[in-house]
Symmetry: C2
Subunit: 197 residues, 2 copies
DNA sequence: TGTACATCAGTGAACGCGCGTTCACTGATGTAC
DNA sequence: TGTACATCAGTGAACGCGCGTTCACTGATGTAC
């Protein structure tokens, strides 16, 4: 029962990873409805039923996709966090979060919307790991009694900003505009005092 | 070319409205994938193609659904706004917005996610009318140079809070818990000074 | 080093499904005279 | 008041589609001896 999906050169290469790649491509090109097991197989150059050797059903593939997205988003946040300068942390984290949402709209929706996301434990764990990056900074900056509310508020703010942007509810097209808007909005909402201490 | 959909008693009643009602029911019971023209017709007790007498295609039905939701949400906001006491406005508006999202998850997603929402002018107008309720309060409370950022921030905050809640990312089940959480989070994020003047 | 065999990744035909949409129709309503 | 007719809401058969999933299979890989 090996769970390794990397490396290899099986029969026809690493089909498990190829399915993920194919599904990500379909997701970036359209929406979630664009991702069918048959389309994934087609794009991976394989028969319609080959993916069943690696995923028990369609929801498993989607869950794997969401897990991948959560891990990628977490990495973005960690990287951004590492480059933050004092006083900058929340803006930088927010920019990373929003940038990811805008760059991968369909995947972002899948990560947060889809039912399989909640039922799959691995996916749920990867989702929890995302918020921990933010929670760590909040713990540093906010006194214990306000931590929970502040944490949820920050998350809601960036999540909402990302959602509104990727659904075209705000006028910001380029990544730079998105980053500027995020900085302005987050600064305004958090105030100059940053709610710290 | 009468656009009236109310009143009546046609051949078999007001099928236009019946389709909307049926579609809303399907939406509340499941997700957007649950709404097919055929299912709508079935639930309205009518042949599979009867809805085509009232909607040129499926997207038109969905757009009408989204328009309905936007109008309903706007009414909730206006009503909440009218009951607000001084200093309370943003919390009360936020509670109304979040409560609507949580009460109508699938419709809320449709209103903000779906592509037909943007291409249909009537739907787009009804969506714009929603934010105007919030914008009016922001204009009263915030100096001009911070209005836009504050407006977007508030919207993102409540939209994000609603999204996270309806996707089960936060632990709040009952309407009361949702209202309390919303109050706490919004108060924390806006601070005690309310950013006014 | 060479043969026999188990494993299991990938195949391809087939299933039943519900979908959106078209088309020619039917039959009730309401108007013109 | 009564008949002829236009309108048009609703019908039902039919289309072609892609889907998720099953099943018995095939054929390459890798191990045991």
């Amino acid at each position: 029962v090996s769970t390794s999906s990397a490396g290899g050169g099986y029969h026809h290469g690493d089909l498990r990873a190829a399915c993920l790649t194919a599904a990500l491509g379909l997701l970036e090109e359209g929406d979630q409805a664009n991702v069918s097991l048959r389309a994934v197989a087609r794009r991976a150059g394989v028969s319609p039923t080959a993916p069943y050797r690696h995923y028990p059903d369609k929801d498993s593939l989607l869950a794997a996709l969401a897990t991948h997205g959560n891990e990628e988003l977490r990495e973005c946040l960690v990287k951004a966090d590492a480059t933050a300068t004092p006083g900058d942390e929340f803006v930088v984290l927010a920019q990373a979060y929003v940038a990811y949402a805008v760059a991968h709209p369909a995947l972002f929706r899948l990560m947060f919307d889809h039912a399989c996301t909640k039922s799959n434990p691995e996916t749920a764990a990867s989702a929890a790991a995302v918020t921990e990056v933010l929670a760590a900074r909040v713990s540093e900056a906010v006194p214990p009694e306000r931590r929970q509310a502040f944490m949820i508020g920050c998350w809601a703010l960036v999540h909402g900003l990302g959602s509104l942007l990727l659904n075209g509810k705000l006028n910001s097209s380029s990544p730079d505009e998105v980053a500027d808007l995020t900085r302005t909005v987050v600064s305004t909402m958090l105030g100059s005092t940053n709610h710290a201490h």
